[in-house]
């Protein structure tokens, strides 16, 4: 029973830590974009991707959380016996996206907010700003891929 609890906590952390990061990141970029839109509403389309980009980490965290739910059979109600050792394995597998999602989303939000400032002044600069922001995304993706392979590699049951 203890193993199941630890595994669920791991899945939950993947979702809420990456989610916290994304909400801070999107919040920052969204505030900056609203500042620009209060003066130039026509720039909404140019700002949109820069605001939305930091939201991806929360989605990655959700994907890993969902994988944990399926792995534990929580959706169909067929929950295998999970030792504490297996629970800790699942918990550890969730950590790459939990932490990389949290930190990369906050920093990506900052890059996006700065990029919004540039895009507000120079037409066409939003794509260049987006490329810098996308570089931060790499590390969230690495976290997602690592968590995914670790989870799929863990064998449960007897």
């Amino acid at each position: 029973m203890g193993g199941l609890v630890v595994a669920i906590i791991g899945g939950a952390m993947a979702v809420f830590m990456a989610g916290i990061g994304s909400s801070i990141g999107v919040g920052l970029a969204g505030q900056a974009a609203n500042g620009v839109l209060s003066e130039s509403p026509e720039k909404f389309g140019r700002m949109f991707l820069l605001v939305a980009l930091s939201g991806t980490q929360g989605f990655y965290g959700f994907v890993v959380g969902f994988l944990v739910i399926i792995k534990l059979g929580l959706l169909v109600g067929e929950i295998p016996v999970i030792s504490l050792y297996q629970g800790l394995q699942i918990f550890g597998a969730c950590m790459p996206i939990a932490f990389s999602g949290l930190i990369s989303a906050i920093h990506q939000g900052k890059v996006c907010a700065a990029g919004i400032g540039v895009a507000a002044k120079q037409p066409g600069a939003e794509m260049r700003a987006l490329i810098y922001a996308a570089l931060v995304e790499t590390y969230a993706l690495l976290g997602l891929v690592t968590s995914f392979f670790l989870l799929t590699g863990i064998r449960l049951g007897s």
Binding site: L28, A29, Q31, A32, A33, N34, G35, V36, S38, E39, S40, K43, K110, A113, A114, I116, G117, V118, A120, K121, Q122
Partner: protein, 338 residues
């Protein structure tokens, strides 16, 4: 880094695009007549109320109203009103100077007073005239008490009153920015103290005043020590310029003094001082989170208004464009580097 300013910085960035760059100012300057020059402003942030401008005084009022809106915007966006209010407080100190000039018998027009201010200008005038200033905020009440003392003891020495007010204002600003740990603003006020001291040094040198006279008028706390000025005062202007060789002010002081010697006017020196300040605040263009872009925009607007006043007043008075052009300050933005 201060994430609270994300919205404010976004708004300021969008507004910076509408600041006037030098080519725009020059196109207004080269307009055939004043009507054409004013028409050049019709696609800028100055269009509101432009139709009411018929004479020089109207344009002054127009610019004052514009700056009131800018100060209002900054007050709305700031999360540190104690810092941004320092720029409004400057108008109170200016109004105290004007009120004391009036008390000393000088002719004072209503438009000499500046708005917006922390305290209504009527209250300042009344406090200066009646000596009853205890209803004012503590800083202004203390200032008026000190200035009243100087007024009574120095035979209405307006110049001493002016320099004392500058000292109280800049020292207060420095203290507030240091307490708030705002290095950008602290540096800005340190530069202002230095430039004020250099200005005082040169003016007193021109007036052939004594060292003790200078001692009473120098402001403490700047990047350049008071002793630096006092030691250089007996020497020549060239040796003063040499003493600044390894300081940031060397170029502007050297060029400013050369121009002063040729023309007998401080106007080019003042332009160089303003350009130096503006170049310092341009650093705010590269800061994405914090109060700095707000301060940068505010200073940029103050310079822009100064430039516009120079151009339009020059146009009203029929000055040659070349003469006006020499007086123009740098612009915060350029078309290549917004």
């Amino acid at each position: 880094m201060d994430n609270r300013y994300a919205y404010a910085v976004g708004k300021i960035r969008a507004k910076e695009v509408r600041l006037l760059d030098l080519p725009k100012l020059l196109s207004i300057l080269e307009a055939e007549n004043i009507e054409e020059a004013l028409k050049g402003l019709s696609d800028t942030d100055y269009r509101e109320g432009l139709a009411l401008v018929k004479q020089e005084e109207d344009f002054d009022l127009h610019l004052s109203l514009h700056m009131e809106r800018v100060y209002g915007l900054i007050s709305e966006l700031t999360h540190d009103p104690q810092l941004t209010d320092l720029f409004i407080l400057r108008n109170d100190f200016h109004n105290i100077k004007v009120a004391f000039k009036k008390k000393c018998g000088a002719s004072v027009e209503e438009e000499y007073y500046l708005a917006p201010s922390v305290v209504n200008r009527e209250e300042i005038v009344e406090a200066v005239e009646t000596g009853n200033f205890f209803r004012l905020p503590p800083l202004l009440a203390g200032t008026l008490q000190e200035i009243e003392g100087i007024y009574n003891s120095s035979k209405k020495n307006i110049q001493l009153i002016d320099t004392t007010l500058d000292e109280i204002y800049l020292s207060h600003c420095l203290q507030v920015s240091q307490q708030a740990k705002c290095e950008f603003l602290e540096r800005l006020f340190l530069i202002q103290i230095d430039l004020t001291n250099i200005r005082t040094f040169l003016r007193l040198k021109e007036m052939d005043k004594g060292r003790d006279f200078l001692k009473n008028r120098l402001i403490s706390g700047g990047l350049l020590e008071r002793d630096h000025f006092l030691k250089s005062f007996a020497g020549s202007l060239e040796s003063f310029v040499d003493s600044l060789r390894f300081k940031d002010y060397y170029g502007i002081v050297k060029d400013g003094i050369e121009s002063w010697k040729k023309s007998g006017s401080f106007s080019f020196l003042e332009k160089l001082f303003d350009d130096y300040l503006l170049n310092f605040v341009k650093k705010a263009k590269y800061i994405s989170f914090g109060i700095e872009p707000l301060i940068g925009y505010l200073v940029a607007k103050e310079m822009e208004v100064k430039n516009l006043r120079t151009v339009i007043v020059g146009k009203f008075n029929g000055l040659f464009p070349e003469i006006i052009k020499e007086k123009l300050r740098e612009a915060y933005i350029s078309s290549r580097n917004l």
